[in-house]
Symmetry: C3
Subunit: 303 residues, 3 copies
């Protein structure tokens, strides 16, 4: 691998694990610039062709990236696996290489198989941005979460953040764990036995709901109903009673504390309907911050 290739590859964004505080801060700062810039359109990525390659469906994430790409003046091409030749057996790698051959300057990629993304990234010559790979990482989601916390509290260092729900299957939990730890926050998990991730036990303790809801940030995870065996999953009502952020539990939160959720929410399951647009809730602010964060990440990859 020659030096140029190494440089190009350093512009991938595959995850937050191992990323230092300084680099995270530089992304957050640049997002701050994009959040406040008065003109919606820039020509920062004019003439760049960006492919949104979604081998797993997504509304919000693809849309958020597409808005960011278009605000930067890039040419955007969308690909969704459900209407692709992946159905005909083409491997994900071959698809990415194909799009690279056609002249894309980089890609945003979401895929199910865990561990495949670094392999692909090592074999292509354009930057790739991880938009979610299995339960491994979802770095732009965690970055927008960090941005939201920093904007609200002024500083992330010293905060306690509870991540509540299906930690085992959550890429959001993992990316937040790595990012928050790098920034000096304390992470605690709260989850039923079958939704815990044993390999993360060294990095964050599990606490009960009583303690979890006393954190500075109460981050609820979406119950991924589609990812559980029927037998294991408790009913929605039982889940809400045991691990949902109910109106009763919200009343016990600290005055200064905030509610976060990566969305889409299951109203009435992991979070009560009344709390989604509650004054404490940052859920729609998180979505709003996704665009400037992704602009900063795209700029970093292509700049």
């Amino acid at each position: 691998m020659n030096r140029e290739a190494t440089l190009v590859k350093s512009r991938h964004l595959l995850g937050l694990k191992g990323m230092g505080k300084e680099e995270i801060v530089s992304i957050l700062n640049r997002a701050g610039y994009w959040e406040l810039v008065p003109d919606k359109l820039s020509d920062r990525l004019k003439g760049k062709f960006v492919a949104n390659m979604f081998f797993e469906n997504s509304t919000r994430t693809r849309f958020s990236f597409e808005v960011a790409e278009k605000r930067l003046g890039a040419e955007v091409l969308n690909f969704a696996a459900a209407v692709s030749s992946v159905q005909k057996g083409e491997s994900i790698y071959d698809t990415v290489r194909t799009l690279e051959s056609m002249g894309i300057d980089g890609g945003v990629i979401r895929l199910k198989p865990i561990g495949m993304l670094p392999e692909i990234a090592a074999r292509v010559n354009v930057p790739l941005i991880n938009a979610g790979d299995g339960n491994n990482e979802h770095p732009t989601q965690a970055l927008l979460d960090l941005y939201t916390m920093r904007k609200h509290f002024g500083e992330i260092k010293g905060l306690t953040v509870s991540i509540i729900g299906d930690v085992k299957h959550s890429r959001v939990a993992r990316s937040n764990l790595w990012g928050l730890t790098a920034m000096g926050a304390k992470v605690v998990f709260c989850a039923p036995e079958e939704m815990r991730a044993p390999e993360l036990a060294d990095f964050a303790p599990y606490v009960d709901m009583e303690e979890a809801i006393r954190a500075d940030v109460v981050m609820m995870l979406r119950v991924q109903l589609e990812r559980h065996d029927r037998g294991l999953l408790q009913s929605a009502e039982a889940y809400r009673a045991a691990y949902g952020l109910t109106v009763e539990r919200e009343a016990k939160m600290a005055d200064h504390a905030i509610i976060m959720h990566p969305a889409p929410v299951n109203r009435g399951v992991e979070i009560d309907d009344e709390l989604v647009e509650h004054p404490r809730s940052k859920i729609f602010a998180q979505m709003r911050h996704g665009v400037p964060i992704r602009m900063a990440v795209l700029e970093r990859a292509f700049g």
Copy 2:
């Protein structure tokens, strides 16, 4: 709700019910401008982000809006429910709010549930344009129909318009009823018993086919085969014999009368194959007029 929000919301286009003649005429006039403008591209909506949110599939309507949006210089983002997290239970409202949070300046929306659109429109701060909501309204379709009639006859006032077919399930019938009535035309319906809409009986009489085909405008509705119980629906052949616009019936139409259909047509069911591109038929003209009408409506919403 503050004054600014009220102003913004007044730029929604949810339906033609209650819209006055003056406003309809202003839209038709503006469409007349866009139909004749020599340059295909303008920068009227430059820097505006428009989301086409289709929670129900559509080829023609989405395409027509997309052409209109691009001719106005807007940035276009497409969303189709079949590839969205609506599958994962996200509510339509949450999706619209999500896209709003991401910075769209407005949306074109098609959805199945009836009565939901005004609720959503009241809770968001960007203009929404109804591209069809259940069997309730399809205002841009009716506006392009009005445009087509005015262009052909010079004036809509005084025309008799027969709307023939599945009135009960037709948003096109309803929007045309409200728009035509506001413009001073007389509407009559013709439909088998099970396809009648009792709640519209006060606004337009039901007539038999013999009378219906003697109107100035014979507007055939698409038989929505997928919306009927098998038991109720007559066979395609029986439907054609009783309520189809056959070559024999066309021969009895007045010399000056025209044929309309919102498309897509079921050739050989509600209309004979030979009539689709017949000199009397305005079917492809209707589609052509859809683009300038939607340009006028988008400009009204975002201007």
Copy 3:
């Protein structure tokens, strides 16, 4: 049909059958210009609206056309049958006419039914480019194959090209047969009995694998598993043993010979994994050449 319409229709690209050497060369030459042009974006088709109408799914071909269209500055609208009203029974012809009515300046079309495309093309007034129609033709694929061969060998005349695999169901085989023959190359086929096309027997002989792999160009076809009856199709292993390009067979190829494949590949079925990115393989070069070829074809259609 008036003279203007005739001129417009001459700009369709429906197939290579009957196209002369001079016209093919002019397309290849123009692609050579687009391959080397330094600026990624031009305004050659600025203000033109191009519809990619895919009535059959495709990743690579649609993407390649979309990159080409955007590099030429066109406005691009995508249509995929899976999310269209074709599901509701609208005919392909009506859809194309509908999009034409909405003001598209031309279309790229892929469809399954064989023989329908010339009928449609004769009835519309905008140029259509065939992106694959059943097993009939896929002219831009063959043009990019010709471009790849000419670039490698300097001249196509005098080359022997083996086309190996499911000739019967392959539009790539047919378009290459017509294009290569016009350019003065010799084509031979190699296929199991049930994958032969009797109607092509007069144009190219069938040879065995031993002979096929001694050609200047060894072009492997994708096994279209989805197009065969289960009973007829040999197992993937048996197919590879009898008709696959294995590492062992590659060793017997002439030193100067190249490997081609229209992709997506079935690694380990018609071609061994190790050969896909082998120095002899032009597979990703073919994909790369698809963009300038399609730019030349689009320019020819709309210029």
